[in-house]
Symmetry: C2
Subunit: 241 residues, 2 copies
DNA sequence: TCGTGATAGTGTATAAGCTACACTATCATA
DNA sequence: TATGATAGTGTAGCTTATACACTATCACGA
């Protein structure tokens, strides 16, 4: 509890304190594929290794505010989807000192990447989650693996997939993302039916011309998102704590 | 990231550090009803208020180890289900100083409560979640509400309910718990079928005599639990991050 | 000893939802 | 005007869920 089981001996300042950082796993979609932002470290420890962006919390900001600050520093993006993932705190995860890291997941829209790209430095890159660097700094492999698993899992039963798409998109583009994430082909007809029945999409007048038949574009109804969660598929190996 | 976006200026010890505590929301079943363990504070701040048990982490133990230590100190119980809930870190959640609290959920078996009771001090009590104290210390109302919501949610699509039951139980007792949690009556026949099909229960030779027809008792197959998650019911308002 | 209430457990017709896949539609281009 | 490419619809049949009627086995009292 807050220090009071042994109240008579209470003196918080006695206790040695760990450092607390916030790490943000930033996902986006590039050419229909899921990517994550990593930064390359220039100094010991793990010099040259890729790492999840993050940093120390300020004493006067909330954890989420710290995560948003980090996110904006790295990508220049604001108002994105952000959720707390997990807190990693093994005693020796950082060789320098005890560091507790509160990890967050951020989803950045596909059409917002250019902002990131424009501010990209040589040691900041989007990596496809299917082809990540061999080894990451610290326990970041574990954090990233967990983030990917959680994202995959949640995309199946929430509207998170929409956060990755641009403002307007076709139903088959949406299907493509689901296929990427689920790792399997989906039936076109069934997908259309399911998405339409969900009533989460709003038809627009925009028609995109392409090689075949012109494609109608749709928009995500944010208002509906909170009312009704969209359950795309049930899986037995869900990760969602 | 771990401190290296600005590597040239890196010096972790410069940063002011928050205190980090682990709070454990301990649930159990008493007379078929969900209860939670709270401790009453003896000192400022929130003197006399009920709080979730917890304490500072040691510098050489993991977060989960700290949670298990707290749990054992409070209930004497080991080897229970434990999962990280969420990390609460608003700047002014503790009036004394900046405290980051990593909250855990623990599920204690119904037949293990006596252990807790035997070590109970005057200011430690099991509270039914349906009738909690008006106000809790710090932001513990929020933590507790979140824990209860997450527990309810997860009980529907995991085998967590079994963690609350004694070693041996009847299928209708299990049904009773699900009814408690879901807040609705379930069909007996469908419940039998669903549970049996799930293959999560192991029949025992134990028969309990009662008023009516004798009841066969069952045991939870822990080995199966990891293979196959038991999805009892889908809900649209799930909370599972 | 037979009936009744209480609890335990099974069977099944119907409804609802999902899946697979065949079908139609509309464009560009050769 | 035929062909390929992409967009979108219809539907038969299978699978699963729901509601509810049914059987089973005990204690206990008339």
């Amino acid at each position: 509890m807050e220090p009071a089981t042994n109240p008579q001996s209470y003196d918080p300042s006695r206790y040695e304190r760990p450092s607390v950082t916030v790490d943000v796993v930033i996902f986006t979609l590039i050419s229909q594929e899921l990517h994550v932002l990593l930064v390359q470290r220039r100094h010991w420890p793990f010099e040259g290794f890729w790492a999840i962006p993050g940093g120390f919390i300020n004493m006067d900001e909330s954890l989420e505010a710290a995560a948003r600050r980090e996110l904006e520093e790295e990508t220049g993006v604001r108002d994105v989807y952000l959720e707390q993932l997990y807190t990693f705190g093994d005693p020796d995860r950082d060789p320098r000192m005890r560091v507790i890291s509160v990890a967050y997941i951020a989803l950045v829209r596909a059409d917002a990447q250019k902002i990131a790209a424009s501010e990209e430095s040589t040691d900041v890159r989007w990596w496809p989650v299917r082809a990540l660097p061999e080894q990451l700094a610290f326990d970041h492999e574990q954090i990233l693996a967990y983030a990917v698993a959680r994202l995959r899992s949640k995309l199946e039963y929430t509207t998170l997939a929409f956060q990755l798409l641009p403002e307007l998109f076709s139903i088959l583009e949406l299907k493509h993302i689901y296929e990427q994430i689920l790792g399997e082909k989906l039936d076109k007809g069934n997908f259309y039916r399911k998405i339409k029945e969900s009533n989460l999409l709003e038809e627009t007048d925009v028609i995109r011309e392409g090689r075949g038949r012109p494609t109608r574009l749709w928009r995500f109804r944010r208002d509906r998102a909170s009312d009704k969660q969209f359950v795309f598929r049930w899986r037995e190996d869900r990760i969602d704590r």
